[in-house]
Symmetry: C2
Subunit: 281 residues, 2 copies
C-alpha cells in the first residue's frame, strides 16, 4: 500500500484501503449518490459529513457497511476512524476518483454506507412510549430539508418519536440525514399508513393531538398540554386536510397576519420548544 | 409578435416581449445567474419565483428593471403581470433559452431584476425605530439559507429591523431572497461595521441586548424583556465571540444537553416568537 499523507499515524495507513480506480466494484454503493435511490430497494442509506459519521459510529444500532473518505480528510478524522469496527472497510480516494464516483463535486469528502434497520411500525412505537410523552406527527412533508430540520428539532427537544404518513418523504435520504445533523439516525420514527390512521391510533393511546395551523383556534402559549402530546404538522402549501382539522384541537403560533406563514421546520421548532419538558411546563 | 400559448389573454400577448435568441443583449442581466455576482457591483439583485415576484410588484419601493418568464408560466401569472408597471419589459422565453441564459436548469421559470435601494446605515435605522422595538442582530451569518430563513422569521414576528456585521452574507443574494419568501425585500436592514460597533450603538439607543448561546445564563422563558430588545445571533459553528458574550446578557433556549445545538434560523424563530409582541408579553 502506498503512503497516503505524511501526517497520518501508522495505524491509519494500515487501516485504510486506497482505491485509485473509480470503476472498482467495492465502490459500487457510492456510485451516483445523488441520482440513485438507495433507499428501501437495497435496504441501505448513504450518510455524509463528519457530524453524521460521528453519530453513526457512536451508535452500535447501525450496521456501517463501509466508509469512503477523501485522502485529504483522513488526518482530521482519526478520532472517528478509531471508533470504526475493524471489519468495516475504510476506503480512501483522491478528489478525482471521489467526484467521478459520486457524480458531482463531493466537497465534504466523507461518505458512509449504512444498513437500514427494520422499520418501526406505528403500533410498536406507540407501545414503547412512556406515560409522559411528546410525539411529532407529519402529514405530507415532501421536502428533505424540512424533514431533516424537523428531526434535528425533535432531537434537540427530546421528542420521543416521529410518526409520518406514507406520503411524507424518507428521513433516511442522504440530504435529510445531513440536514438533521444525524438526528434522522437517532429519533425513532414510523412511516406508514394514512394520517387518519396515525391520528386514530394516537388518540386511542391517550394522546392529546395539537394540530398546528395558521388558522388554529388556540394560541400555543395558551394551550394546556396533557401528559401525552402529539404535535401534528402539515405541508406549508396545502396545510393539513380540512376534515382532519375539524376533528382536532387546532393551535396557532401567534404572528403577523400580513405575512406568509412560517416554514414548517421552524414551526416545529417553536412548537417543540413550547411543549417540551425543557420549557418548564 | 407570434402567438404565445392559446390560454393567454390578448393584453398579455401584447404586453410580453418574446425573445428566441439566448444571446440577445436585453437578457444580459440574467446571464449565468448562479455564478455571477450581481450584488453590489451593479447595484442590482435577482429575484426568482412567484412568491418573491408578488412582493416585488406590490412594493413600489423596488425599482423592477425587467422580468424574464418561461413561456409556460405566463398563463399562471396574469394577476402578477397586471401589477407590473407598463415601462418594465416582460421578456418571455422557451425552456431551452431560459436554461441557456441561466446556465443551469431554471425550474421555477420566473426571474426578475431589481435595482437595489441605497443601503441603510446603522444610525439611520436606529433613529427611525419606535420607542417599543424588537431588532435582530447577526454576527458572521454566512449561509444564504440561514440568512433567508432569519428574514422570513423576522417578518413573521414583525421585528422592526435586522442589523448584521460586515462578515455576514448579503440578504439580497438570489437564494437568500427566495428562502425568505420575499422578506429580504421587506424587512429593513443595515449591513456594515463590526459586531462590537453595532452592539455599542444599540446599547446607546437603550436596547437591551440578549445574546443567544447554548451556554447562555438565563432561560429565554425566564428573561424579562424591556421596551427595546435586540436578539443577537452568531454562527452555529463558532458561536458569538467570547469577549462579547462576557459583556452581554446571555440567554439560552432550554433543550437537550446531549445533542448538537439548534440551527441558527430555527433558534431565531423560537427567540422571535418568545419576544415578539404576539407572544402576549
Amino acid at each position: 500500500m502506498k503512503t497516503l499523507v505524511p501526517e497520518e499515524p501508522d495505524w491509519l495507513q494500515h487501516r485504510v484501503t486506497r482505491i485509485d480506480d473509480a470503476e472498482d466494484d467495492r465502490l459500487a454503493p457510492y456510485r451516483n449518490v445523488r441520482e440513485r435511490d438507495l433507499v428501501g430497494r437495497e435496504g441501505r442509506f448513504i450518510a455524509e459529513g463528519k457530524v453524521v459519521l460521528n453519530v453513526m459510529l457512536s451508535n452500535p444500532a447501525f450496521a456501517v457497511e463501509s466508509l469512503l473518505i477523501l485522502e485529504n480528510r483522513l488526518a482530521g478524522l482519526t478520532q472517528q476512524l478509531k471508533l470504526c469496527p475493524p471489519d468495516v472497510p475504510i476506503y480512501c480516494v483522491s478528489r478525482e476518483v471521489m467526484d467521478a464516483i459520486a457524480g458531482f463535486p463531493m466537497h465534504r469528502g466523507i461518505l458512509a454506507v449504512g444498513g437500514r434497520n427494520a422499520p418501526h411500525s406505528i403500533d410498536a412505537l406507540i407501545d414503547g412510549m412512556p406515560d409522559k410523552a411528546l410525539a411529532v406527527v407529519l402529514c405530507g412533508i415532501s421536502n428533505h430539508d424540512n424533514m431533516g430540520s424537523i428531526f434535528r428539532n425533535a432531537a434537540a427537544f427530546e421528542a420521543d418519536c416521529i410518526f409520518m404518513d406514507e406520503t411524507s418523504c424518507d428521513p433516511l435520504y442522504r440530504k435529510a440525514i445531513r440536514v438533521s445533523v444525524g438526528a434522522a439516525l437517532k429519533v425513532p420514527f414510523a412511516r406508514e399508513g394514512s394520517i387518519e390512521t396515525i391520528v386514530a391510533k394516537l388518540q386511542t393511546a391517550g394522546f392529546d393531538i395539537f394540530a398546528l395551523s395558521p388558522a388554529g383556534i388556540t394560541d400555543i402559549y395558551d394551550a394546556k398540554p396533557s401528559r401525552r402530546v402529539a404535535l401534528l404538522l402539515g405541508t406549508e402549501g396545502e396545510g393539513l386536510p380540512k376534515l382532519l382539522l375539524e376533528k382536532l384541537k387546532t393551535v396557532k403560533i401567534p404572528m403577523s397576519g400580513s405575512f406568509d406563514s412560517l416554514n414548517v421546520a421552524t414551526a416545529s421548532g417553536i412548537a417543540l420548544s413550547r411543549f417540551s419538558r425543557f420549557s418548564g411546563l
